[in-house]
Symmetry: C2
Subunit: 518 residues, 2 copies
Amino acid sequence: MTRPARHTAPTTRNHRRRRAGKSAVEKKPSAAPPYITRKLPPYNLLDEESLVRIETHADAILCEFGIEIRGDPVSLELFRQAGATLCGERLKFEAGLVKHLIQRSAPAEFIHTARNPARSVPIGGAHTALVPVYGPPFVRDLDRGRRYGTIADFCNFVKLAYLSPYLHYSGGTVCEPCDIAVNKRHLDMIYAHMRWSDKPFLGAVTSVERAEESIQMCRVLFGADQLENHCVILGNVNVNSPLVYDGTVTRVMRTYAAAGQGVVISPFILGGAMGPVTSAACIAQAHAEAMVGVALTQLVRPGAPAIYGNFFTTMSLRSGAPTFGQPEAMLAYMAVGQLCRRLRVPLRCGGALTSAKTGDAQSAQESAQSLLPALLSGANFILHAAGWLEGGLVSGYEKFIQDADRCGMMVKMFEGIPLDTNAFAMDAYREIEHGTHFLGSAHTMNNYTTAFYESNIANNVSYEQWLEEGELNDEQRANAVWKQQLNDYEAPPMDVAMDEALQAYMSQVKASREDRWY
Amino acid sequence: MTRPARHTAPTTRNHRRRRAGKSAVEKKPSAAPPYITRKLPPYNLLDEESLVRIETHADAILCEFGIEIRGDPVSLELFRQAGATLCGERLKFEAGLVKHLIQRSAPAEFIHTARNPARSVPIGGAHTALVPVYGPPFVRDLDRGRRYGTIADFCNFVKLAYLSPYLHYSGGTVCEPCDIAVNKRHLDMIYAHMRWSDKPFLGAVTSVERAEESIQMCRVLFGADQLENHCVILGNVNVNSPLVYDGTVTRVMRTYAAAGQGVVISPFILGGAMGPVTSAACIAQAHAEAMVGVALTQLVRPGAPAIYGNFFTTMSLRSGAPTFGQPEAMLAYMAVGQLCRRLRVPLRCGGALTSAKTGDAQSAQESAQSLLPALLSGANFILHAAGWLEGGLVSGYEKFIQDADRCGMMVKMFEGIPLDTNAFAMDAYREIEHGTHFLGSAHTMNNYTTAFYESNIANNVSYEQWLEEGELNDEQRANAVWKQQLNDYEAPPMDVAMDEALQAYMSQVKASREDRWY
């Protein structure tokens, strides 16, 4: 079994040339690690017997019911040649086959290279990357309310992601730029990620053409050679659960994989709808579905970077609407984390998920109960870690700030508890009297600036001071923060020539076709 | 080493007599278990070596610096006779001594008997009890804002706790009834718990006299014989950290322990103030302090029920104010959980802690990050699980409802994932087509009512419906819930004669002394 590592970061072309824009000191994200290296062990919810039970059921699903790939004969043929039984568009797999196809070549860990090499992110193992919201057609802020997203909003979210020391990607479709034609907006989105951030990003998946053009823009930025040997862009796709891959999805997956670029494959299962109403079944089904997707990338190009995704959530029994941050999803994350570690591939799950309409208590409650369990489950790639509102329909400005703060807490938490001599502070006890306090002790003075996580929106002042300051709630405080951040934003440097090359490519593609709005 | 179990629940006297009040069907909390039995394993944050390091430091603190008990020669003498070195009011302990004093008699688990035996709660092992907020002088609701608590507020919180299927105690000082004299209000508080709920409760700890009278009221309710052999009331005390027990506290502890009643002993450590600014030191110090308290109960009465408590939190580096739900506290819970399991005594930690002034996103965020880690740490007794606001200064009506909902999520989560044949739902896959949905499948129909936790305040409807319904946020929805609940409340049954006996005792005590207001 070959498990290729892809650990060498290239020097991107734009960092080798002269810099565009301000020559003065630029405002940059503060110095925090460009990704999380978890010092905490993952939570082991299930015992060996339970895990084997789930794996056996996943195999039974693949064997008895199989997976359909609709409208992509190439993918079907790849699986048939690899040993699956093909009947029409349905593939059936004997027990262990899909796992074997994964384990013989899928990387346990790979590097997602950023244009700023200092921001490249290892995906897998003990690493976790926190990634902004993906996909909402709407945006919301306290001043202007809920409205369709625009490219201006898109750029704002890219900038906010760039500025947060606790977000490790600038993201993908941070909101839909609805003011740009559907068949052209992917170019503007990729450009915004390249130009207004230097963190890793995701590309288009809505058609093969758009995926190819996303990759082509990376060839311009990183150079064709670098792209051939390094993962510089990810495509994020969903399974049409239950048990179906749409051919558009598999062809996009093949496009990314063939170029050696990463694919995130997530069954989206709302329990009771795209899967049975019981968690065990949904976990087994999702495992079966995700494994087939990861296996496909390996049939296209052995060693291609792939992330095993999971998006399981519950529904309201009253309305049938999706619900988030609920007990069943927390448990599923933890079980899926164990299954994925046994496969030895990177895991995506979690986020700051909520069905709340605003940044209220429901929003924070559900988001906290999505993000913390995801980290504890050992997730390596956490999409929707900031900005998600209303079941993914809305990217929220205040929510983005609230979530980035929670991400900061996770970054601090997963550094673990230092247990060195300084941490035990025995000298401090020699300095202070019983029943007094450590506030002025030398140990406190030496350690207080790094001791505790400090939120930029939580309010801990006295009631009287809070009254005097206008009785602002958390969402209102977040409103001031994103405005200040956008006001202070300065773009990371980019070569003028590179900027021109990217814009030239976009112009040429845009000129080659008519606008399409659906 | 003797580890007595106290598992037989008595029949309380009031359940043997004729019932007072309505003879019709009474409104009662819905049928949920009277406590959590955790099906999830506790999270093991630290390895053996790290745990031994902390234990060694705790022993070093006890040996080198020792613990002072100020103003209680009886407690000092008990420890001196048990092998501690006494110098003035300071006790020093050789390594392992305090642990030995605990382990030779402290129960790993005990039953807190409720007046309704069906609501008795085992404290320890895999059990967790969720207990309301304790101690705030203020109350808050959306209609009347923040104000001093009254006995009417107190009774309201007792009733709300009684009505929640997810709270297992009616609590202790759910708010201070500031309209009753300081030296008499404990009687009204105990009476309210006895009369308006039938769940377990906590008694007074502010003086030996008040502790004795709390216990005496229990003798009236449960009978002196029952009380002698069963834990029917708990006293909740704090250490005067660093490294000091106040004599009032130890005398109250001795009062409860001598009567065979339970004591919860919690070092309250704000890192940087009552302990060093580094977590490892605070964990070791708290371990040392809590152990000494548990040991004292065993010196007073071997086998007396005791709970090892922990209340560690962080502070804002900007204001010096306490902060809650932060990464350092989450980690400390988990480490303390491991230390406490090694001692084999019940653990108190966590809650729904926050410094937020209202039931906003900060409040939910911090509370979620206090409650879930406490459950994962294996806490057996979680005080402040509902209602706490503003660092414990305020009992919030809306917050109480928001928190009770979160408690419901924990109850559901810690039932774990069923992995039986029904849960894997293989028949459902035979019934439905690939790519369709399970909404109408027989399996969904048979399981949907119990499949997922259903919040009573989360809003999952469409944006349009939410707009039409008035754009209510989580706190506003909670406002409607507590009003409805108090409106629908019906008291649990109590003998008329018992009610008269309790009131007669209170009147007699109250008549025996002048009001004191401080």
